[in-house]
């Protein structure tokens, strides 16, 4: 099997008396699409927040590309190549679609103060490249015609796509999507399915996914983790998970 990209072991997160994540273990290999499923309140988003450095886990280890990251601040983890979307889309609403994509490239740009003040050639070149990359991703997610619109005015499905594009311009290793299909219609969900597969195939990202849409999850995932009440319930290939008795009982069986 290919090399391990992200590995969390014994991950725990406690808020006061509440143990939101308990001894979670999780692994994403290079090029994999891995999903986390589980009922609402199972702690999936908390795991996301721990992995991306928004919460400092109260226990356990997170290794990303051989480096312990559980104590690093969120922006550093993002710089290492772990970027995420949010359950309720977090765009820069008053900025244009294009600018959302430019801001995301901030750390790749020439941010030298003097270079910018005097518009040196290297500054111009860096800005032009940023524009180009933004244009490429706008085209990819079909938002080119909305480039100069305020992001807040986009339709919901478009906002979700823009959020993914905004992650992709940072050139990530691991893309973490928090319920990307929530609120999308079946058409849009199919598009999303295609987009995610394409990102993995042509842009070399691995994907970690939280999703309630079972059809999407089963279709797209290499492996699935089932979480219940902060604890891992089962994991494995879609087929294995689907036939796992505990999972059927706790999750799928009821619906």
């Amino acid at each position: 099997m290919s090399q391990c990209l992200l590995e969390a072991s014994d991950l725990s997160m406690r808020f006061g008396g509440l143990l939101a994540v308990d001894q979670m273990a999780l692994k994403v290999r290079k090029g994999e699409i891995v999903s986390m499923i589980g009922p609402n309140g199972a702690g999936k988003t908390t795991v996301f927040n721990c992995l991306t450095g928004f919460y400092k886990p109260t226990g356990g280890k997170i290794i990303f590309q051989g480096r312990a990251v559980e104590k690093l601040p969120g922006f550093t983890i993002a710089r290492l190549g772990v970027v995420r979307t949010f359950q309720n889309v977090r765009l820069f609403k008053a900025m244009t679609v294009l600018e959302n994509l430019l801001v995301a490239q901030h750390r790749h740009l020439n941010t030298g103060l003097l270079a910018g003040l005097f518009k040196t050639p290297s500054f111009r070149k860096s800005e032009a490249e940023a524009m180009e990359r933004a244009a490429y991703w706008l085209d990819k997610v079909g938002l080119t015609e909305f480039a100069n619109r305020e992001a807040g005015n986009l339709a919901y499905g478009q906002q979700r796509r823009l959020e993914i594009a905004r992650c992709m311009v940072t050139d990530p290793q691991l893309l973490m999507l928090d319920e990307p299909a929530a609120g999308l219609n079946p058409n849009e969900t199919r598009e999303l399915d295609k987009l995610i597969s394409d990102l993995r195939k042509n842009h070399g990202v691995s994907v970690l996914l939280i999703e309630h849409d079972m059809k999407l999850v089963m279709e797209i995932s290499d492996r699935i983790y089932v979480i219940n009440q902060g604890r891992p319930l089962a994991s494995g290939t879609p087929e294995a998970v689907r036939s796992h008795p505990e999972v059927i009982k706790a999750y799928l069986g009821e619906s």
């Binding site: 808020f15 988003t45 927040n49 928004f54 919460y55 949010f86």
Partner: protein, 308 residues
């Protein structure tokens, strides 16, 4: 006991005196912050207004020939509390309520505006000069050998301790026992949820401002009598100090405000007593900066969890 010990005790007493009035003002900051999460920047001015009202009442009674100190004090406290509470209520109603749902900074700017407005309103109404009053309560107890440094505990300081203690006790009883007090605690826990449960949160918030202003009025009367001099600018510094006390103790926590007030008062007194009185404000502000940097939740406060 050596002389230095007497000196130490004197500074401690002075510090506790001023500290207990800081505590009274700090409660106003902490209660408002606990419930609606805003810094009521104008709270210091409310305290200053309390002082002015008390002075006006005392002077008026003196002109009418009243000479019972107890009666004068009682009247000063009651009238000052009534008027200052009205100010607290009005400030919230006019300057903060319309901004309840907007960004924190917007509300803070409005509060700063309100503070500037009130300060200058009093300046224009009463003039910018110091207004002084001869001490109402004189005398005190002196301890220690006659030829060396003595510790003096003035009657005024005793009055400050007693009144502060009574006020705090009443407040604690109100918060823990009464229905409205329970509503206050519920609002501090979760404002939105409390509203859903059918409690008139606007009323509770108004009440919070009224209580805070009333306590500031008590502090205003006490400090006014203690120092004997007031001017329209005393509210700014006192407000900042009291805010420091609130943050020090843990903003949102009433016992924290009291603790913070006392610590700040004592720290200031020791700075003035052992170092230089010019730098006591610097020490107070540095304390504020340090506590915010290293323990923003204060001594008794709960840390905030960021919602992602």
């Amino acid at each position: 006991m050596p002389e230095s010990a007497y000196y130490f005790i004197q500074q401690l007493l002075n510090g506790l005196t001023v500290g207990s009035t800081y505590a009274l003002i700090a409660i106003g900051y902490t209660m408002v912050y606990g419930i609606i999460g805003m810094i009521n920047f104008a709270h210091g001015e409310i305290y200053m207004i309390g002082s002015y009202v008390a002075f006006a009442v005392l002077a008026g009674l003196a002109l009418m020939g009243v000479d019972s100190i107890a009666l004068m004090l009682a009247a000063a406290f009651i009238i000052s509390i009534i008027i200052t509470s009205t100010y607290g209520f009005a400030v919230e109603r006019v300057a903060y309520r319309p901004l309840r749902n907007s960004n924190r900074l917007i509300a803070l700017i409005s509060a700063i505006g309100m503070s500037i407005f009130l300060q200058n309103y009093v300046r224009i109404a009463q003039g910018s000069r110091d207004i002084a009053m001869p001490s109402l309560i004189t005398g005190g107890w002196t301890f220690g050998p006659a030829d060396e440094f003595n510790v003096t505990l003035s009657y005024m300081q005793v009055v400050i301790f007693i009144i502060t203690f009574i006020t705090m006790t009443l407040l604690t009883l109100f918060i823990s026992k009464s229905r409205m007090g329970r509503a206050c605690r519920a609002c501090a826990e979760d404002l939105g949820m409390t509203r859903l449960l059918g409690i008139n949160t606007n009323q509770v918030i108004s009440l919070t401002f009224i209580i805070g202003a009333a306590l500031a009025a008590v502090a205003g009367v006490l400090l006014g009598l203690y120092y004997g001099v007031i001017n329209p600018y005393i509210g700014f510094l006192a407000g900042l100090k009291a805010f420091t006390a609130a943050v020090l103790g843990g903003i949102g926590s009433i016992p924290g405000a009291v603790l913070g007030g006392l610590i700040l008062g004592v720290t200031e007194a020791f700075t003035a007593g052992y170092f230089s009185s010019e730098y006591k404000d610097v020490v107070a502000f540095s304390l504020l900066v340090l506590i915010l940097l290293f323990r923003p939740s204060g001594i008794l406060g709960k840390p905030e969890v960021e919602k992602v």
